[in-house]
Amino acid sequence: MSSAADSSAWMAHGDASSHHQHGGGYKIVQWEWSYVQTPYIIAIWILVASVAKILFHFSQRVTTVVPESCLLILLGLVLGGVVLIASKKQLYQLDPGLFFLFLLPTIVGDAGYFMPSRLFFDNLGAILMYAVVGTLWNAFCTGFCLYGMKLAGVIGELFLLFGALISAVDPVAVLAVFEEVHVNETLFIIVFGESLLNDAVTVVLYKVYISFVEVGPGNVQTADYFKGVASFLIVSIGGTMVGLIFAVILAFITRFTKRVRIIEPLFVFLLVYLAYLTAELFSLSAILSMTFCGIGTKKYVEANISQKSRTTVKYTMKTLASIAETIIFIFLGISAVDKSKWAWDTGLISCTLIFIFVFRALGVVGQTWVLNWFRLVPLEKIDQVVMSYGGLRGAVAFALVVLLDGKQVKAKDYFVATTIVVVFFTVMFQGLTIKPLVKWLKVPRSTNRKPTLNEEIHERAFDHILAAVEDIAGLNGYHHWRDKWEQFDKNYLSKLLMRKSVYHKGELWEVYQKINIRDAISVIDQGGNVLTSARLSLPSMASRTSFSDVTNVTSYLRENGSGVCLDLQVIDPVSGGKLEEETETHHLLTGNLYKPRRRYHAHYSRHFMTMGDKERQDREVFQRNMRSRLESFKSTRYKGKTRHKKERSQKKARLALVPIDPVVAPLESEEEKSEDEPEKDDDVGITFFDVYLACCCLTSIAVPGTLEVCQSPAVIPPSPTCAEKHLPWKGGGGTLPVCVSMETTKIIPIDLQQAWNQSISSLESLASPPAPAEPQHPRVRTLGRVEAAARGGNGASAGAKGTGGGGGSATYGIGHYTPVMSHEKHRFSLNTHFVVKLRDTGRYHTLKQHCLRICWLNRKAEKTHLP
């Protein structure tokens, strides 16, 4: 971008400016432009590019019609004009070195890493065909035809070179244009895959012709052609191998990053980039290398790194790629405004334009005809039209033409001009018109629909069926080999490259969780409307697909800075027991309103994320709860003589049941703990695990006892209701008040989405509708269930009145429990974390263990408090 001299001068300038300081006395303020020049200019350019993007998107009408890439090129032209007028010569242009070493890899890295691999490999045959045969066809035909025309007084062989560099479809341009068009996935992956994989062909042709030009056309021997073919094989296969090697290394490294989660994303970027650089180092196909590194490594890396790192990788890659793309297009525009570098030749330009278009179309039609003999899903005529029309040329061609040596290639200026015009024409004219064309041809569009669980399961089954049928019919077809690969991957690769803890997690289970999360988010986004229907049904279900069109309420609220929370109360009509509950809540609030003690640790660590405000509060709440818990134990011992006989006996029954085997229980949980250890995430400390969990499980005091903000709007009668004597602070005993009221259930999606999700999904698994008389039923039921677990199956508690629901496993228990937690938005997020975590790792049985253990501990505590 900024001229190459800058970067080399950077260091020298640094020295020079330090010398400056010593001459001419001491200055208070110094002008150090030369010192900061290069990074400063780069930063300013990036800023300009980003601001330009914001400006474009101010007007939605423009961006829906005109692709961003066109606007950026236009902006580049304007900026180039300004610079040209200001300084009389063009200071900036797209520097090939910078382009190939920094801008291109960011885009390719993003493309490779987020490549939908199944789709890619399903269409690999077609992609390879278009990338190799298609590009060769384009290059030779364009080259020879231009050669035949003998334009611009240029010697023939150079046209072959020119044909080679102008023929390749450009990944940057294709991405920029096709991302806005939304054609169906198959079409997109074929065009896009071609644009990535044709790199090897382009590189080899370019290098071969350059060397031919260097030795002179007369000295080329037959052997050199064979060398060219060999070189193609080495460049493409070698590039792929380098990429795959780095993919394995990267996946292997991320297996061991559990204690340094913070640098996980860095490994991803570094190794993917190193794959690119290494391929460049050996002059192999760098794009191929990077693409395959991304495709190969993604599965394992995503499994190994933490959720936060995954998000970081995703957003950083997208940001970088987006900025790189912006800069490329702006600089393409700027580079065009430079009279000194190019020479216009109308004949050459028009012929090139016609030839590349015609040969692209011919090539696509011819290859598709051949491919359709072999393809299960033939490519239709309209697909072929879009593919021909989508053959965009871009910055790669421009960078290659700028790289030409002006001394050897006399016609360089003509080529530069032609390339610029071709790139502008394809990106601007074709980019602008492809959207209406796609609409007009009624090309099947991509649907942004995520597969449902049913589809996921059945499609997996279909894969197995097809593989089996191929085996039975004795055909070693695609499904056979895919099945073989999956076996190999499962038996060896995944074992080598994945953490043990992740390896044993089912893929389908993760899909299930993702779907649940998605559902819950959309439930919240729709203002919870879905919950009001008689039967809980969710957006991902077949019958409810229309919901996806509903505007996203949450993001709307967030965008508008609204402090409004979605209140389930509004949407869930509560009839009986409302007043009572509100009373309870009020007393609960007044009695137990929690004010955190302020404790500020000035804690800073470079290697770990500090404990957030939320976690600190959680700890506070926990301590408070434990104290009150202990006190309540004491009070039952000493004070609760006659008044709470019933409760006491209840409690006794519970406690008696608890340590079925007090020695075994903790021991087992110890084992669990050590097993759990590798699961430990950066955001969750395992030490809290049992304590917190048990805190949740043991008593619901923990829940209502810490109500904070969600004050119920109702007017509270001052007289104590019948329910009051069950309240913990009044009763003082170990009663289990069921005062979880819907009233206070507000959803704050931003920080508790995940937890809420889980709860929704499991709520949903209760096929029966919540009884209208007791709207809190599902939650209570959970509580009951979890507690029942805690008590070793003793369901004789007030909380467990809803033990119905039959085959509810611990899963549901946990899931149901979560809304109770989320009811304490800030307070209990950590708990929910754990609960969710528990679900994640599938260690439900540990829940029981921990509950048992805590009960046992409590009993011990009780004993020690005896005189």
């Binding site: 669980l453 049913n454 085996d471 019919a473 289970w509 279900m541 698994s765 096929a767 496993s809 599938g842």
Partner: protein, 253 residues
Amino acid sequence: MIMFFSSPSDVKNNGHRRFFPYCHIILIPRGVSGHESGGITTFFARRFHHVTDHSCAIIMGSGDSTLSKIPNVEELMEETGFSPAHVVRLYERFQALDKSKKGQLSRKDFESIKELATNPIRDRIIGAFFAQGQEMVDFHTFVRILAHFRPVDKNRPKKANMQEPVNSRTSKLRFAFQLYDQDNDGKISRNELLQVLRTMLEMQVTDEQLESIADRTIQEADLDGDNAISFDEFRKSLEKVNIDHKMSIRFLR
């Protein structure tokens, strides 16, 4: 040697008359065994099948004699839509599998297929070949089952009186459905789903996880609230999936 005959004359083949407007002869070296040439034959056969409705390929030599060995081959081809080359290919495979040389396959024959050993739902697929209460599979059933996986051909003329072709979307789905529905009551119950999931996921998930996946799946598809998935519900839940693509094998085109 394989010949593609199509001369403007009636060629008698198994008593069936066909009209061949063109003639193509392709020579394949003698050394190439039937197995290898199968792919080539298939390819050409497919091409001719594609070009016009009138041109058809007959396989001479070994292929021809194979065809004549199969009883009622015409009906079979008519019913399943397989070309002669496919039938020959499948017949060769059938004979290779038929260890006892009785013209019928037993469960053991299927189980001895090496590649199948790692397939988690192997038993169910093998079971799909056997009709209720039957112990053996003859060649016709074998081909009919495999015909489920032929891609749907668009330009094949539709005959009014014909029943639904075996490779239609519905019969493909029916085939998959029956793999789940082991007791043949027309419903996938929770237990049946659990069994399939267990075999597909092996030991990767705990029982609780499996149950919640199964419950969720059933709830997602279950429209009438009977806690099971009927065939209609099954079809509805896969409404948006391109079954023609996902349940077809290119080789059997």
